[in-house]
Structure formats: C-alpha cells, structure tokens
Symmetry: C2
Subunit: 352 residues, 2 copies
C-alpha cells in the first residue's frame, strides 16, 4: 500500500508527513480500521489540507467494513428498550461504530426484513431484541453472514450470541421480600398469559408461593394488560373479590402505578394495608408516590452486555455462540418498606 497514489492528489506518504504520523497509521485510517482518535484526527486534518476527500462509500467498498452497527428494538416507546439503547450507544461509540436504529414494532416481518437486509452489508453487526423468536427468525439468523446478538431467549443451538433476563428469579425475589415483611395474602396482577412475559411471570409467581409453602389461590390472580389503566381496572376487580389482600405482585411498573391509583381511591394505605411491587424498575418507579419497589430485570446491563459481545465478534472472535444471563435485582422503595429513601435522584432532564 505504501506510496499508493490517491487519484492525482496526495499520497499516503505526503499525508503521513503532514500529519506527523506513520505511514501505517495513515493506511489504517484511510482504510477505516480502528485507530486512536487523536491519530485519526491528525490524519484526516492532513488529508483534508492536502485536498484528499474521504468517501465513506469508497472506503467501505475497499475495507468491506461499514463501521456501523444496527440495534433493532421491538418498541421505541418502551422504556426497557430505551434503557438498553442508552447503554448500547456509548459502548459502540467508544469503539468507533455508528449506531443505526431500527424500531420493528415487534412485527415479525419487520424483524425478518432487518435480518435479511444484513445481506446488503450496511452494518458490520446487529443487536436485536425481538419480543418472540419464531422459526422465521431462526432461519434468517442461520443465514446471516454478519454477527448478531439477540437480547431475549433463543433455542439452544441458535447461531447467535444471546443475552437473557431472568424474570423467574425476579418474581421470586419480590415474593420472598413480601413474605419476609409478613404478608400472606399476596396477589398477582398480570398481563395476558399468551405473551412471553405474562406466561413466565405467572408461572414464577406460582413457583415462588410453592417454595414458601403458601397455598396457590386462583382468587388471588388477576389478569389484565401491561398498561396503567388496565392495571387499575384489574386491581379494582381483585379488591372487590378479595378485600383482605395484603400485597400485590404486579407484572410491570405501569400495572403497579394503576394499582396505587386504585388503592389510594379506596382509602387503603400503601404499604401499611397493601404492599405493592412493580417490575422493570423504570424511571416511573422512583417518580411515583409512594415510590415503587420494583424488580429490575437489568435492561441497561443487558444492553451493555450485548454491545460488548458484539464488539468481541467484530474484533474477530469466532468461538461458539455465548449465553449471558443478567441476574435481576430487587430495588426496595416506599411502596413496600415505608419510609425508605426515595430512589436515586439521578436522571438529567435539561430543558431544550
């Protein structure tokens, strides 16, 4: 490569001289290989001064690398995915990758589209977070020539790295906590059972009771949907049927916020009369009053782990697919523990 003329203009030699860096460094930069930021700056400044115009397209044709990574999230409005995004973006940026963002609205055809489009080589790798993994996903994953990391559960043998949450243990932590506080009439307010989280969380609740030696009672289970209004409606029905309930295990934070609304309206004190636990530990949990005890399923940690796994692949690691499970964490706040600290005061909200 040394001395290769760049059109009629400057050569690698003249750029290296002007930039005060090695010829190898110039070559690395112009071929789009990872380089120290400072070196890159010098080389690009010198190249610009000498009239060499970089062209991302030509560069990527040559190196076959795009320095882009895609993140396909199921729902751009869902705080859990945004928490992943907030961690994925800086990890990729630090490694010199641009982030291409897809929102698939959890439509399987859109997700398959994203996988197919990897054939266009517009990115070097993909992180995806589908709500469900179908056979069509698996076929497309098997065909992909680009590294893919899936946040969610994939069947054993799938050709993709995999980062998982553990909602089962999460529910267990919450029910154990309520039990340790002396609660014995612990109800479950869940989303639809034909969704992956609904089914998993419902089963985990049943198991948790069993391990604690508490009886499972159908009357203590109320199915609604994963939204605040539906959560409120479900809790109102539950209270009408079993007024002596002393704890609510809610399948997500929005359901729990709906529960707080109804408990307040019915004159019940939280946590004195009824303790409430949410799930996902969104920003809303700390903002509510009383602030909400919630099970964190580690969205941020999962995003970070996925980005790091992908970077390893992009650096050439071609070992067998890996599985990382991020352990859940119970974040205890006032809705179960009375006058505890009100959660972290940490989220910036500058006006714009």
């Amino acid at each position: 490569m040394e001395g290769t003329p760049l059109g009629d203009g400057p050569t690698i030699n003249t750029i290296a001289e002007r930039a005060g860096v090695s010829i190898a460094s110039v070559s690395r930069v112009l071929n789009g290989l990872p380089t120290r930021r400072e070196t890159e700056r010098k080389v690009l400044a010198a190249a610009e001064e000498l009239g060499y115009v970089r062209n991302a397209v030509a560069r990527s044709l040559k190196s076959r690398r795009t320095h882009q990574v895609a993140f396909a999230m199921a729902d751009i409005g869902n705080p859990a995915y945004l928490a992943m995004l907030r961690e994925i973006q800086p990890v990729l940026k630090a490694a010199g990758y641009r982030l291409v963002l897809h929102s698939t609205d959890a439509v399987v055809a859109d997700e398959i589209d994203v996988l197919h489009s990897l054939g266009e080589r517009y990115v070097d790798g993909l992180i995806m977070s589908p709500l469900r993994v179908t056979d069509a996903h698996l076929e497309s994953l098997a065909a992909a020539r680009t590294p893919v990391v899936v946040i969610g559960s994939v069947p054993e043998g799938t050709r993709a790295d995999n980062v998982r949450a553990d909602s089962r243990t999460g529910v267990r932590l919450a029910v154990d906590h309520l039990h340790a506080l002396g609660r014995r009439r612990i109800a479950m307010v869940n989303g639809p059972l034909d969704t992956v989280p609904g089914a998993a969380r419902g089963a985990a609740y049943r198991e948790a009771l069993e391990e604690l030696g508490l009886p499972y009672d159908d009357d203590l289970v109320q199915i609604g949907d994963f939204y605040r209004a539906e959560g409120a409606r479900a809790v109102a029905e539950l209270l009408a049927r079993v007024p002596d309930v002393d704890a609510l295990m809610c399948a997500n934070d929005l359901i729990a916020l709906g529960a707080l609304d109804v408990l307040r309206a019915s004159g019940r004190r939280v946590p004195d009369d009824v303790a409430v636990v949410g799930m996902d530990d969104t920003d809303l949990a700390a903002a509510s009053w009383p602030s909400l005890t919630s099970v964190s399923l580690g969205s941020a940690e999962r995003g970070k782990a996925a980005a790091e796994l992908l970077l390893q692949r992009l650096r050439g690691d071609d070992s067998a697919p890996r599985l990382v499970t991020v352990p859940p964490r119970l974040v205890v706040r006032a809705s179960t523990a009375g006058n505890r600290a009100d959660g972290p005061y940490d989220r910036k909200e500058g006006g714009v």
Copy 2:
C-alpha cells in the same frame, strides 16, 4: 439503463419479467430510489432468486444516496430528546430511510465532528439538537453539502432549517394559569442562569408577572439545577425564606418532583397550600402523585416537524431555510387543579 447486464448474471429485463413489474420499477429499486414497499419486495425477491445480490455499498456509489439520515441528540438519557427520537424514527422509516443515531453529550467538539463527517457522505441528511449553537456550529453548517435541520435556535441567516420551542410563551401559560387560580405569591425555581433554558425561563417568568401586574420579588426566585435532588434543596431554601409562597413555577419536571417531595415532608398540601407546575411534560409528570401540571414544549411535535422538513429537502426542495416554531401547551393535572383526571394512561411498558 434498460437491459444493462448486472455482471454476468441477470439483467434488469429478466428481473422485471420474474417480478412481474415494469423495467422502470426494477431500475428504481436497484438504484435505491423511493419505490412502493410491495414493488420493492417483488423486485428484491426476483433479484435474489436470479442470483443477483444487492450490495448497499455499490448501490450507494452509483446513486450517491445512502438512504440513511442521522439524528444527533445532545443527551441520550434526556426524555425530551427521546420524545423527539420516538417521532423522528417512524417518519424516516416510512419514507425508506434508516436512522443513524449520535449522542454528543452536548460536547461542542462532538457536534462539530458530526457536521464535518457529513463530508464522508454516510448519510443523506442530518437532524441535530444542540444545547447551544456556537460560531463553530455555524461555520460547519455553512460548509455542509448535506441538508441539516436544527432543533433549537439558530441566528437569522443560518443555512439550515430550524425548529424551535417557545419556552417564553410556555412559562407565560403556566403563570397565567396559577394567577387565574387565585395564586399571588408565585415563586420561580430555576436551573442555572448561564444555560439557555435557565436564562430564557427566568426572563419569561419576570415578563409574565409584569404583564399580570404582579410585583417581581427577588425573594421568590430560587436558583438550583435541573435535577430532582437540587430542586428539592432549592425549594427547602425557598420555603425557609418565604413560608407563605402559594405556587411554584418549576423550570422542569425533575425540579417539580423535588418540590413535591419537600412540600410533602413539610406537611403542605398540594395544590391546596401550594400549587406546583413543571415543564417539559415528561412521562414522569403523569406518574407522580399528585400528578403534575406541566408545560409541554412539544418535543414530540418538534421531532416530527424536523423529520418532515428534512424529507422535503431530500425530495429536492431547495427553497430558502425555514423556521418552524412549535407552540407550547399547558397540561393541567392534579398538582394545580386538585382532583382532575390523572393524565393519559397511554404508555406501553411490556416486560421483556
């Protein structure tokens, strides 16, 4: 173009025949021009069957278009920018563009980097939302050969479309509302005055009082920072100095959440003793208790307007730069109006 051989493989003619579409349609798809989704699908399926492999790089070399648009947000953790992102992404997706996401952490050098990198032609256009627009921004904007839309204020004569909020009118709406409720000791809890929002909101508060014929009183102004803990600290100081305050105009929602914490701890009822207004109308406003009256500065609407302006440019509109100002909206909730509805129950939060 008709009949141009694609390497040794299929021709546009054979692809058109297989796909059952016109030759012009095949040409459009293979050149990456906007096409109906269904047509694109048919053409790509036929091309794949015939062994023609699309290559984004080769395609974009030819058409000089990348079908990517970048959004450079100041802070990926800030709900106001996320609200923009949630609107920008679907508008671009519907028009066939991929979104490249940058987070600049409001570092000017990073923002300039993004503007400079437009020279690499990795995107067809850019939406950026800087906290401040410096001379360096303006120089880079003037040099950009790619359309740029700025969300924020730019000096007149800047070569970029511009989408603005109107926090001045927003503060005015809030102070008028508090005044109409009979409040006369209306305090302002602000962020630092050397930030753009701090300065603008402080000045707007003063103006609003003036127009209502209320005296401006230094004692009623407390400067903290745009975070919950700092908001709480500021309100505690304010209450110690002016215990008879009957309304708080807070410069953002986090400050207002801090205010609610302190008012509750001091035994003051909201809104009976003290009414509270926030700003930005984040998801947190509806989640808090009492739910928070807040000034929406139209983050979502600004994102949408920016995406639509950019699409017009990408379709070839080269008229003079445009300015769109999104009007603010006061969203009245329980923190000023007592038992009003508790805000929209609308945000999905599926577990994953």
